[in-house]
């Protein structure tokens, strides 16, 4: 692989921008931004696999990110013993009932020949099965949710180290992607888009309303961390010794230290993913994926199993997004279903991929960095711009007051402006996918 000078320049500029934040604002802020840039990059990488490699128009990024996020709760929170004893039996029965219902449906379907009758019977059985499962499920969820609802009211998790939630979050998202893919991948471009959008809304509705599982909108806060707590560091001897020898203030140093720990973890994950992704993209596999994206009919005629390949890449991409979702929840220290909205978790990620240059892994990483950076820094920048623009109006002008008041909304404006500018001057993204033109 050759080094792309353009990439070096952009990444260099990005590093400079983060350093500028470090010097002008604070290092702690720079690291906060960096950490989220890293997570955004991973999410963008996942989406890029689906769109950039295979042309799958997935507008359900949010759903997969949320599924990854819920893994953090399910893995790391301590189990709630009372809830298990209150609803555990019924929940077990629910699982059995569900298994039985599915088994019956499968058996009946096997026994019957293809045709409208089979579809109809399946439909009826599915509805009956739904009713049957709810006989056990309703009391279970009710019992669980009534266990001290303001503090728990859910089953809790496995009480394992939260870092395990990352791969598990990826797996959960992959499982969901498998199901979604089985249903929806037959649809074409924009229809797949609306289907995935819808499915992500469904996932979110479930996370918001199935309180027994995730506490729903009551949120789970105070998740455990894979890195030390600042407060503890501030009273730990070796750390105090360290700060003293460096001549740094312990409070600031502790928050910088924690963020560096996170950053190292994230960089490791991103590094591994990038290695795998780059290898894959520049292999015959990547070539096949591009061929499929270009022309499905023809790829099919050339012996490529398009459906399976689409499913494969859809699952892989979703797993990466799920992984990033779990990482994000870990960093936030809380799982709040209300957070997830398409603007932030789907469109913004799309912007990252496109601005970075779809089809190019490095582009996605760059896009993740740049767009997150702008998203955060647009707020003060908007204020500053507004201040500048209205400085001629005089201190007491009501117009100026009104405009300054609305300055936060300039964030959106600035974001849009930057997006349009990048797109204008580099329509295929900052780092366009290499098309080996001679």
């Amino acid at each position: 692989m050759t080094v792309n000078p353009r990439a070096c320049i952009y990444f260099g500029l990005m590093a400079l921008a983060l350093m500028a934040v470090g010097f002008l604002q604070s290092w702690s802020l720079a690291l906060t931004i960096l950490n989220l840039c890293l997570i955004s990059s991973i999410m963008a990488l996942g989406l890029n696999m689906q769109w950039g490699y295979a042309g799958l128009f997935n507008v359900g990024v949010m759903g997969f990110a949320a599924l990854g996020g819920v893994a953090a709760v399910l893995v790391s929170q301590p189990p709630v013993a009372e809830a298990w004893s209150a609803g555990g039996t019924d929940l077990g029965l629910t699982v059995l009932a569900l298994a039985a219902a599915i088994a019956i449906i499968v058996l009946v379907r096997r026994a019957m020949g293809k045709g409208p009758l089979r579809t109809f019977v399946t439909f009826v059985l599915a509805i009956a099965g739904y009713g049957f499962v709810r006989i056990f499920f309703d009391p279970a969820s009710e019992a669980i949710e009534s266990v001290d609802p303001s503090k728990t009211g859910y089953l809790g998790g496995l009480g394992l180290p939260i870092i395990l939630a990352w791969p598990i979050g990826g797996l959960i998202a992959a499982g969901a992607a498998w199901m979604v893919g089985k249903i929806a991948l037959g649809l074409r471009a924009d229809y797949l888009a609306i289907a995935t959008l819808g499915i992500s809304e469904i996932v979110l509705a479930m996370l918001k309303h199935e309180d027994w599982l995730s506490r729903g909108v009551k949120n789970v806060t105070g998740l455990s961390r894979p890195v030390p707590y600042e407060i503890e560091l501030q009273t730990t001897d070796w750390f105090l010794g360290l700060t003293e020898s460096l001549g740094a203030a312990p409070i600031e140093a502790s928050s910088v230290f924690v963020k560096i720990c996170y950053a190292l973890l994230f960089v490791a994950v991103l590094g591994i993913l990038m290695w795998l992704a780059e290898k894959a993209l520049h292999s015959p596999w990547g070539r096949m994926m591009r061929a499929i994206r270009d022309n499905e009919t023809s790829a099919e005629a050339m012996g490529k199993d398009v459906t399976r390949r689409h499913l494969q890449i859809f699952i892989l991409g979703a797993a990466v997004v799920g992984l990033a979702g779990a990482m994000l929840v870990t960093l936030d220290g809380q799982f709040t279903p209300g957070t997830y909205n398409p603007l932030r978790y789907t469109f913004l990620i799309w912007v990252m991929v496109i601005v970075g240059g779809s089809g190019n892994n490095w582009g996605s990483v760059l896009g993740g960095f740049l767009i997150w950076f702008v998203w955060v820094e647009a707020e003060p920048a908007g204020l500053w711009l507004m201040d500048l623009a209205t400085s001629g109006l005089g201190e007491s002008s009501t117009l100026r007051a009104h405009l300054l008041e609305s300055a936060p909304h300039m964030r959106l404006f600035v974001m849009g402006l930057i997006l349009l500018l990048v797109l204008r001057f580099s329509p295929r993204g900052l780092l366009p996918a290499k098309t080996r033109h001679q």
Partner: protein, 337 residues
């Protein structure tokens, strides 16, 4: 007999009228999206914010008119302000096209680039609207609010159940029907309409037939902006104006456009009603309805609700997905990006 009438009125009041009105609102929005999609071939994410922008202008003008005491009671004053809003929406649409989209058109960029550009426009318009009128709720409706009111209806008919029809609901429905008919006629029958369809089908070949692309693009934006203004204003009259809600409206609008078959005006209308009716009928609790029709002991204790309203959006999307699986390009064979 009374029971049956009561049951019908109940269903009409809580299911049919609201779903019709909501469906018509979605349909008007979806028409605008579908026009841009059909002709310029991209999903315009800025449409919701275009609606917000246009409505904002209408509101500002309405306020001025209201202050001056000009009105057309019982119809809302906003209707007089509508033309100004339409002009403003057209102006800003053409302006963005000029500054943003035209460039990509000339470069023949991929549709997704347009989509992303429209997200950029969406962000910017989002900001502008909030800076000018603020993020708050604004009410600007006046004139008669109801065509039929619940209490009036009960008095007239002597039934236990009431029926309400709002002026804004009736207006929306009427306008939606007229708009789609006019659009259909325009696209299928007029020269300009045919030119637009030709352009959307095969741009190069349209040039070779002498179609002036600038003209087509101009018409497309004029129509889309007009529809956006009408949709936004009627929606604002019925509910209230708030920029954030207009942005949120985008999702069901897109769903409606796509389920109907994107690029198809008639599809947008049908899609709007499918989304609206699925939301309302599936989450409606039929207990009271059944109580009128069945002996009390036959009616189950629960609310007789297929699904909780919590899953309202989920269910409308499930229906969408099912429709798409059965008819992969929407009800009226839509286009593919």
């Amino acid at each position: 007999m009374d029971d049956i009438l009561n049951a019908i009125v109940l269903l009409t009041n809580f299911v049919i009228v609201p779903a019709l009105a909501y469906g018509a609102q979605l349909a008007l929005g979806a028409l605008g999206v579908t026009i841009i999609f059909g002709i310029l071939r991209f999903a315009n994410f800025a449409h919701g914010d275009l609606m917000a922008f246009a409505t904002m202008v209408v509101i500002l003008v309405t306020w001025v008119l209201q202050d001056a005491g000009i009105g057309i009671a019982p119809l809302p004053t906003a209707l007089i302000a509508l033309p100004v809003g339409i002009l403003a929406a057209i102006a800003i649409s053409l302006f963005t096209d000029r500054c943003v989209y035209r460039f990509y058109r000339q470069k023949k960029s991929a549709p997704v680039i347009f989509v992303i550009a429209s997200i950029g426009v969406m962000f910017m318009m989002n900001g502008i609207v909030r800076v000018i009128i603020g993020p708050d709720d604004q009410s600007f409706g006046d004139g008669a609010r109801f065509l039929i009111q619940v209490t009036q209806f009960r008095e007239w008919t002597g039934l236990k159940e009431g029926l309400a029809i709002k002026m804004s609901q009736a207006l929306t429905l009427g306008v939606a029907v007229i708009a789609v008919a006019a659009l259909f006629w325009f696209m299928q029958r007029t020269r300009a309409g045919k030119a637009m369809r030709a352009y959307s089908d095969n741009e190069d070949l349209a040039l070779l037939s002498g179609v002036n692309p600038d003209r087509v693009v101009f018409y497309a934006w004029v129509i889309a902006a007009t529809l956006a203004t009408i949709a936004g204003t009627l929606y604002g009259l019925d509910k209230s104006f708030k920029p954030f809600t207009y942005f949120q409206l985008l999702l069901p609008i897109f769903a409606a456009a796509i389920v109907g078959g994107i690029g198809q005006p008639l599809g947008a209308i049908v899609g709007g009603f499918i989304v609206a009716f699925s939301e309302v009928t599936i989450t409606y609790a039929y207990r009271k309805f059944l109580l009128y029709l069945l002996p009390a002991e036959w009616v189950p204790d629960g609310l007789v609700q297929f699904l909780s309203t919590d899953y309202k959006f989920a269910i409308s999307f499930v229906i969408l997905v099912v429709v798409l699986l059965v008819r992969p390009t929407g009800v009226f064979r839509g286009k593919v990006i």
